[in-house]
Amino acid sequence: MRFIPALALAAAVLLSGAGVVCAQENLESLRGKTPINQEIRTDNMFRPEKDQDLIPRNFQKQPPLIPHNIKGYNITQNFNKCMDCHSKERAEETGATLVAKSHYLDREDKKHANISPRRYFCMQCHVPQFDAKPLVENTYKPAAK
């Protein structure tokens, strides 16, 4: 009687092994099924959209979209490339959209002289646009300006 659990365990191991094999056959990464030693077709690469005028918002309080290419614009501990133009000190000269007042509030709604650290990483909310077409049909209609 003792060997029945052992048998069950062995069966389970075999089955799960088979399951893993199955899963591996069905697995598909972003590369598709291209073997690691082959180049993938690159015709599905998206390009950033050209510089354009301000993009209207689609809903209230939507973080405005970035209407320009941001290639090579890094945000590091030492330097925030976005704020090189969009900060209070620089916006007038560069003609960039000024950072909103809400960005000067900390989480206790206290106003500071400088942007709040929680707003430092601009691209957490503001995103640039690429020429990617929607993958599925979208019936959403802009709800606000």
């Binding site: 050209k50 354009q52 030492n78 330097f79 000190e89 000269e93 003609g95 400088n114 942007i115």
Partner: protein
């Protein structure tokens, strides 16, 4: 020999024709060798043979448009950091002996030491480029030949105005090939020792701001 002697100046007669010819040949060899040495030390392989350059600035540079881009046109270290004209080039080469001295001292031989000095190193280079009107940028990028219709909206707006204001490339294009040191951008608690950078603007406005 007698016929040749007639044409020889007195000083050639004094030191001897063979000596004069040997000196002439030696001159060619030394001058050629000197220029060869100048060119050998003006190559990227030479620059990154020091780990100070290879592990810090060269690595950062590999992510930028001057290293890899659509058309494959590249700028190497000396294209930006060593003047092309003979006089300024020699001056820069002589100044570089100070860099050899600090290489021997090991002033920036770890990334930590390098980053501690980054503000000073960057400021030296910014000052040099400001002083020569960004000549090394303009060796390739010339204002006169810029087609603003081909530039992006922002560039097409900023460039003509900047040139009217008498600005030079480095006034705005800092940190395009290497990482910047800590910069005081007035956007958060100021990092200790953060550098103030100029955008090539009106100094009198700036001093008024500082008084406040």
């Amino acid at each position: 020999m007698m016929s040749l002697k007639k044409y020889m100046p007195a000083w050639v007669m004094r030191v001897g024709l063979v000596t004069v010819l040997l000196l002439f040949a030696a001159g060619i060899v030394f001058w050629g060798g000197f220029n060869w040495a100048l060119e050998e030390t003006n190559k990227e392989e030479f620059c990154i043979s020091c780990h100070e350059m290879k592990e810090n600035v060269f690595k950062e540079y590999q992510n930028t448009v001057h290293y890899t881009n659509r058309t494959g046109v590249r700028a190497t270290c000396p294209d930006c950091h060593v003047p092309k004209e003979w006089g300024p080039k020699l001056v820069r080469k002589i100044q570089a002996s100070n860099e050899i001295f600090h290489k021997m001292l090991g002033t920036i031989d770890t990334p930590e030491k390098f980053n501690a000095k980054r503000a000073q190193l960057a400021q030296n280079e910014w000052n040099r480029m400001k002083a020569n009107d960004s000549q090394e940028c303009r060796n390739c990028h010339r204002y006169d030949y810029m087609d603003y219709t081909e530039q992006g909206n922002r560039a097409a707006k900023q460039h003509p105005q900047a040139f009217i204001d008498g600005k030079t490339c480095i006034d705005c294009h800092k940190g395009i090939a290497h990482q910047l040191p800590a910069i005081d951008q007035h956007i958060g608690a100021q990092n200790e020792g953060a550098a103030l950078i100029s955008h090539g603007e009106k100094p009198e406005v700036k001093s008024a701001e500082e008084k406040k």
